[in-house]
Point group: C2
Chain length 455, copies 2
């Protein structure tokens, strides 16, 4: 272990320089125009897997963006870890809000700014570098390691389930490892044991066959913008309570033990508010902020568009209006059932003077693990060694649908060891990664390989 | 009169070719990037005024786009007509819906397609060509003629009021003439005696200081898209009734005589619906479609925008959301009072977890004229001679704020002699002008000069 840690610290600058190179590739999975960049990013990763000492590395084409796979199976008799990560990133708009270009990685005050720095390229790199340290310093790893790195996480992992289902032998392992969750706070290592699920939809309304002059027609035709506002208002009241009939039926409340642990966490509500930059926080009555994010479902309008939105004034009644609407789901809500309830509700409230098209986009089940699993205990010890502090057990409000797929298809428990910070702007302009956490993360992952091999 | 009509018919092709040239200039007053085109368009018009025989023609700079003025005062003792029109046009988006380019005038089936064909460049040209016919065929006009053609009608005529106030001597006349209103239907000449007013606003909401990940923050912060939907829903119910307290206080109902005349018009509701291309019409209970457009105020969301609106899915809670909201007002509503009521209502219903900015954009008073005015009687006889059919008296749902300004500043009554058709897509893609109406319009305007000189 000594030589591994020594290697990690000696190569610190190179590990950062390499990550910067990885981050220059604009691997936005959601943009058709970045398709070549996605291919280039996958090839770059494959070369990297070979260079760190994987015995096998390959790019698997899918019907979408390719999957990158690598393995080192030189420890027969030892357990096998399947690492999962993603090399694709979120879109970057609004571009004008970035201090430095999203694909021009820049270090300011010990933080590395770039799209993908924390979600998830930086944390993928952290795992590769932990493996490299073992393989270069000791010529071996204490566990067998499989690496599965996809390119469609930010667009719902559309082809990952199929890939996993058709490569079950290749991916067989004892536990899954993912680094895509945040620390509870700076210096507090955190193991996530619960995730919210997701159901994402696009809603299109059509009123007339073309845009109309609001003088000549105003008052006699439905305005899709208005109909959309009415539909949206029918989904959630002004206090945040979702109004879709049956929506809350299957929501499991937090256990008393969870609530007690939650109450001991050093959560600073005012700091959270300042980080968000809102005049005041908001939320369902009767639930604290953390409890809301961890255990309450939510429904958000992620995008809204209709009519004239340029500079100045245009007196138009638009023909169409669009909304992107997504729900974060909690145990034991089922995305399919929620989608049905949503559709039924929309059909019931949409007026006949407008045409509704509902498109279901990606989704994923919510997830809740036992914190007594041996791999979670090993992760806990590894984090304590890496950070010098006992980890806390947290849930996370986001979705990592692959966690459910790994459980359902391969029977795997997942350990979530992420080192991002909550204010590092994943999915927003000026995404960044604390380079101290990056380094400590590499050390912690190396310890996890060690600890898990002993469990 | 014979020689004038002969001249008009002999020059038919040239009159169309010249209009096409006028329509190639992209005079979009709302786009900063078209500023040079606006200058070019004004200069083009001035040259035209000189070439048709105006004694004086000038481009007057304003703080916005220039005003073009021309006059022929060679009939002392005869009445003076002040023609008003505008050379600016609406924006052209969505560009992909145009069959031919908006500034590539194209004739299909006897209709001239281009932005501005009917609103209002085509109808400005019609008036110029009627004057030309008199001046070239007879060397004189039966009335004195002043021409006032502005470049900011589509952006609220921001600098026209100032121009009129500071040029009262220049613009002194006996009646104003405008061609910017539609025929009630093909073959039915129509004189408009009522217009709706306008109050236009932009509403900006800010929730957080930056876009947020809907997983990490969903449920704890207000979503400006949602707050916007709630605000909009509070403005009008699902049956079209506006909910702003006091909004309807000053609305004057149509007189019994008006209702009776309206009921005799050959209005085809089903055809109206088909033209609009909506699954069904919509509107306040208790009012027919025409009565609604003519005499009921309306509130429309002209534009709506917030968050991610591109292809695919992005799980973001946006920092901001925006709506463009306008109201069509009827006699005796006052735009200033309505703006106050609107602002009071918004302040009362906007939650404290979001910041609201309300920007008042342009507006105009509603207008109602007497159909017994001598100039309206002259217009009626002129239309009957031009179209071979008695005109009907109609109101129009749109706004022509200058009509109020001309009344209030110069004490002028206005005659509205437009020849557009209701389905010619003013303000929408594929705007067009029927070339038969264009020709008949030139003849009718020539008759109006003749008839008004005798009144």
């Amino acid at each position: 272990m000594e030589s591994v840690l020594h290697y990690i610290h000696r190569n610190r600058d190179r590990y950062i320089a390499e990550l910067k190179e990885f981050l220059t590739i604009p691997s936005i999975s959601n943009n058709a125009e970045n398709r070549a960049d996605m291919e280039r990013c996958a090839a770059f990763l494959k070369d990297q897997l070979e260079s760190i000492g994987m015995q096998k590395a390959a790019v698997f084409p899918t019907e979408g963006h390719p999957v990158v796979y690598g393995e080192w199976l030189g420890a027969p008799g030892s357990p096998t870890v399947l690492f999962y990560g993603h090399y694709d990133v979120q879109p970057v708009d609004p571009l004008e809000l970035w201090i430095s270009g999203p694909f021009e990685p820049t270090i300011r005050d010990g933080e590395l700014y770039a799209r993908g720095a924390v979600d998830d390229k930086g944390q993928v790199w952290m795992n590769l570098k932990a493996a490299e340290a073992y393989l270069k310093a000791q010529g071996t790893l204490p566990v067998n390691l499989k690496l599965l790195i996809e390119g469609e996480e930010e667009v719902g992992s559309a082809h990952l389930d199929t890939f996993i289902q058709s490569h079950q032998d290749l991916l067989r392992a004892d536990v899954a490892l993912i680094s895509d969750t945040p620390l509870f706070d700076r210096g507090i290592p955190s193991i996530c044991y619960g995730l919210r699920g997701l159901a994402y939809f696009q809603l299109d309304l059509k009123g007339s066959s073309q845009d109309l002059h609001s003088g000549s027609f105003g008052g006699t035709v439905i305005n899709p913008n208005f109909a959309l506002a009415h539909l949206i208002s029918s989904l959630k009241d002004s206090e945040g309570r979702i109004l879709i009939p049956g929506f809350y039926d299957d929501v499991a409340p937090m256990s008393d033990r969870e609530k007690e642990e939650l109450s001991r966490l050093p959560f600073d509500q005012e700091r959270f508010r300042r980080e968000v930059g809102a005049p005041e926080l908001f939320g369902e009555k009767g639930y604290g902020t953390l409890e809301t994010v961890w255990s309450r479902p939510t429904l958000e309008v992620n995008g809204l568009c209709g009519g004239f939105t340029g500079e100045g004034a245009k007196t138009v009644i638009p023909a169409t209006a669009m909304a992107k609407i997504s729900m974060r789901l909690v145990p034991n809500q089922d995305p399919d059932r929620i989608a049905r309830l949503f559709e039924q509700h929309l059909k019931a409230v949409t007026p006949s003077s407008v045409d509704l098209t509902l498109t279901r986009m990606h989704g994923g089940n919510p997830w809740l693990a036992s914190i007594d699993h041996p791999a979670i205990r090993a992760a806990s010890r590894a984090f304590e060694k890496g950070f010098g502090a006992k980890p806390v057990f947290v849930r996370e409000g986001g979705s990592i649908p692959v966690v459910t797929t790994l459980a359902e298809t391969l029977g795997l428990s997942t350990v979530l060891m992420g080192v991002g910070l909550p204010d590092e702007n994943a999915h927003a302009p000026n995404e960044r990664l604390d380079l101290g956490n990056y380094q400590t993360g590499i050390v912690s992952i190396a310890h996890f390989f060690d600890q898990f091999s002993r469990s």
